[in-house]
Amino acid sequence: MGANPKLDPIRGEGSGNGSRPQPSYKVIGTRPIRPDGVDKVTGRALYGADVRFPDLLHGKVLRSPHARARIRSIDTSQAEALPGVKAVVTGADLPTAEDRFEDLGEGGINLRYLSENVLAHGRVLYHGHPVAAVAAVSPHIAEEALSLIQVDYEVLPPVMTLEEAMAEDAPILLEELRTDEMGERGNRPTNVAAHFRYELGNVEEGFAQADLVVEREFRTQTVHQGYIEPQMATALYDQDGQITIWTSTQGSFSVRSQVAEILQIPVSRIRVVPMEIGGGFGGKITVYLEPVAVLLSRKAGYRPVKLVMSRAEVLMATGPTSGSRIRMKMGATRDGRIVAAEAELVYEAGAFPGSPVGSGAVVLLAPYNIPNVRIDGYDVVVNRPRASAYRAPGGTNAAFASESVVDELARKLGLDPLEFRLKNGAKEGDRMANGLPHPKIGYLETVEAIRNSEHYNAPLEGRGRGRGRGVASGYWGNWGGKSSATAVLNADGTVTLNEASTDIGGTRASIAMQFAESLGIPYEKVKIRVVDTDCVSYNDVTGGSRTTFGTGLAAYELGQKMKAAMIQRLADIWGVSPEEVVYEEMVFSAGENRVTFDEAAKLIERRSTPVMVEAEVYGKKYGPAFSTQCVDVEVDVETGKVTILRYTIAQDAGKAIHPAYVEGQMQGGVAQGVGWALNEEYVYDREGHLLNASLLDYRMPTALDLPMIETLIVEVPNPGHPYGVRGVGEVNIVPPAAALANAIYDAIGVRMTELPMNPARLLEAILAKQAQESTQPA
């Protein structure tokens, strides 16, 4: 199947990749075509923006031109008077939301801020903050109407950086905010929303044992998830008060809860229809447009209203993920044991509290068994868009710091960086910084996979003279969550499987495969559909790398239940006890009686009770994931440009259900990590205007920026899943920034501590090093 024979050996399916032979699976581990594939290569698949109705109205959102201002007044009368305009809404149309925390997606969220982020209430907190919205008969008329809305702003000085936000005399963004100081509420206005601490052992004593201590400060910039499909929503508010929302989301039930809370409408009145989704990466959990579309539809005489963001709006007002400042100190003994680590993580939350600093703090040192640890985390508001989840939220920032310091320690101790990791690497039972012990994990196996790889053992020509090799590891805890699904036996021997996890990267296939394996039928017999919120019970978001694990558990259970139900029906028909019915190789038999699976399906429909089974699961035994990566780079010291020569990723999948889509996740995560490391960043001017709100200026990697990405799937089964599945979506993005920084150091001896390592920053560091060397006496 390989395109080019010389490329074939580097596919992840080869030997020596740490995977173990799986004796008995028929479906799992194969690479069938995904059920939604044909629609997606022919343009027929319907995404959120493809929704059309005859009487559809088009909505547009007016956004703040200022990073921070008070809204004195909004006058919408001229906009309303424009022919073709059917409705205008502002924050005044939203019910007043109180401070209340709810878990409506991935982690807790304050409903007051969620509502304020949908439409501003009296204050704007970032360039692009929604202020009003219009529905009109065409998108162009809606846009014209926006320019007729008069907003009187009292412009205030913005707070754009962590330093500004934490300064003694800093302007206060949210007057009501008090620091959550390790669980205690502070008593003065602040921009620091939270401070927490993780502590293990005694760091002071730990550092006293160290022969070598490395301490550095790292910085990363705000970056965006960069999904190619902008946010959109279409809503219809019916005269009878029933609401339907068509949208591309990671979680239809999460959208339903958020809209219900923001608009104070019972969830039972809202149906969310998940359309195909063009990427999410954590950025399509929070609602932005859905409540606005509902409000507009109600105001516009119950006509359907569609809103679609432009790319500039996506960059200005959705996502992004936190920029950060991390101070990292680690001490090791001469014989290569890490004995102490201390860190301070400060993350931008954007306009409202809730950066992923908490998960960053867990990721930071999770790959290592370190007896003495202290980590302080701070969540800080600044006048940037509200941070949302991005693939292994908080992890990339953290690992950039810790894995760079680990690399430096290994070098100074004269140890191979992988040996150093093997020596200190975490195993089952070792405690993480948050005090929780690791369950069964496959970290060391990922390190071994890289150590045994052809890549790591191949000499790199020019190494240390402009070319270098770096490695780094990463952790992500993964998640289980709740899933609901049903399966219906059809008379022709096929099964319709209804589930509610939106399919962002091939999960229809991985779920259908687990069902087929469980029931003992071929994959081709399963017809799988992602259904709306009225069809099954509650289902968590496609996020936290949970879908193949969690909804996979439901699929496994459905398979077992359907088998039992068919046996029971046949036993009735045949007049035997269910225990007498044997099911093997798609044949049911009991004494003389014998039918194939297809015959059984037909027989049951004709002569017995129909078969439909359901499964509701709450997957709590999810297995954490680790990845270790190796990269070769070439640095042009004249320009500061980094070229990636070769990249290999090893990742513990637990069990790869559909290996091609597992490799795809690994490759995609690496590519995003590379973009984060080398190019991507939000650029603001002093007044807080976003200067690079386009895909030309917010530069994500293209095919030309990357080589093939070699994948080594490691399989250390998760005991909490019948097939051993962990999650594969996120951990891959954790190591790339550190791996690249370590490779750059290896190439030219320059230690980069700030992302992105773009030509400008790298050249500056190269020149600084040269200047330093020329002033030093020879």
Partner: protein, 169 residues
């Protein structure tokens, strides 16, 4: 106030002559998607930076978001919907499926149109040729690896089949 008077445009889309009404300010992409219901072409950026809206205009690869609708008068367009005439998947589409060269799939129509244009022009591209040609198409999900392989594999298979030439790409 911008000109709102509609114009009548006649063009050929996927082999069929079509007449539509549009405002001069409407882009080809907007007309394809909103007026003609050809929603296979996607909008990722609206300003020429992502390739999700790629179509062939007189055989030349263009971003439909950068073409004004009135410009297509009398010309010939191929969109993703016209790539597989009669519903049979082309070899290129088949290879995208076999190689799992899509995850969310929003970029896929653009990549398939762009790759078809490449293979029409250069039937035996190198890996570098493919990467260079596809640099106008952004994919955030795949890291491009499997897309590049799918295109190279298509080219190899077409070359191998050359003894019995068929129009498949």
């Amino acid at each position: 106030m911008p000109e709102r008077k509609k114009r009548m445009i006649t063009t050929t889309i996927n082999g069929e002559e079509i007449t539509f009404l549009c405002e001069p300010r409407q882009t080809l992409l907007e007309v394809l998607r909103d007026e003609l219901g050809l929603t296979g072409s996607k909008e990722g950026c609206g300003n020429g930076n992502c390739g999700a809206c790629n179509v062939l205009l007189d055989g030349v690869l263009v971003n439909a978001c950068l073409v004004l609708a009135p410009e297509v008068e009398g010309r010939e367009l191929v969109t993703i919907e016209g790539i597989a005439p009669g519903g049979e998947l082309t070899l290129l589409q088949q290879k995208f499926l076999e190689h799992a060269a899509l995850q969310c799939g929003i970029c896929t129509p653009g990549f398939i149109v762009a790759a078809k244009a490449l293979l029409d022009e250069n039937p035996s591209p190198t890996e570098h040729d493919v990467r260079l040609w596809l640099a106008g198409n952004l994919c955030r999900c795949t890291g491009y690896d499997k897309i590049v392989r799918a295109v190279l594999d298509t080219a190899a298979a077409l070359q191998a089949a050359q003894t019995t030439p068929t129009e498949v790409a």
